[in-house]
Amino acid sequence: MNMAPWLRKFALTAHVTFSVGWFGAVAAFLALAIAGIASSDAELVRGAYLAMRLTTWSVIVPLAFLSLASGVVSSLGTSWGLLGYYWVLVKLLVSIFVTIVLLTHLQPIDLLAAVATGTSAISSEHRSQQLVMVIASSAALIALVVLTVLSVYKPRGMTRFGNR
């Protein structure tokens, strides 16, 4: 079912906006995560983890779902479809995977923010969570770059659904 051109443009604009916003928010998260693990300033570290929780819940999670939903709408509203082409299908799977990984990391993000709120410093017991924040956000950034590359280059190939 193809959408009207104006609606298709609107959906595409929304998808690009949400996706770019998602990338930018994760980049900011990574900067905070690095500051949290590398800085010797206790106040900066506390502020970083509080900002990470706020950024995650108010920006990254909503944008992840909005990007995913707008991508599905955009693909279904054009001849690309959702499952007919490998690049669209791969984008969908990577987006879902990154969103699931994001959701599984909400608890450690909240934990670090709670520790930062309640104590004067982050102890070495939480070093692993701090490290995981850096690793996870770096991996998410790489995945989001991959999604952008797929969107721009549109590597060829139709799936068995597209060949029907």
Partner: protein, 89 residues
């Protein structure tokens, strides 16, 4: 390029028609894979992704080991040691 569609589409062409119609000012065409099999870029992408996911999971397990007081050398972290020079309560 080896396995990338050599079109001149940009990100603004995401809504272009897959059958070669002009949509949004740019004409594009997506050819099916030559023999109908899975394109090479998908296979390469799958392998690279699998390796990346395994590395990611491995790093998580290493983090879990650190969380339980075992560093990379197998030594236990002394309790009460804090980061940034401030002792935890």
């Amino acid at each position: 390029m080896l396995f990338i569609y050599s079109g001149s589409q940009g990100i603004d062409d995401m809504a272009t028609d897959s059958s070669g119609n002009t949509v949004g000012g740019t004409a594009m065409r997506q050819d099916p894979a030559p023999n109908g099999s899975t394109p090479r870029w998908v296979k390469v992408f799958g392998v690279v992704t699998l390796i990346g996911v395994l590395v990611f999971i491995m790093l998580h397990f290493m983090g879990g080991a650190m969380e339980h007081g075992i560093d990379m050398g197998g030594h236990a972290s002394p309790p009460g040691v804090t980061q940034h020079g401030v002792k935890s309560p």
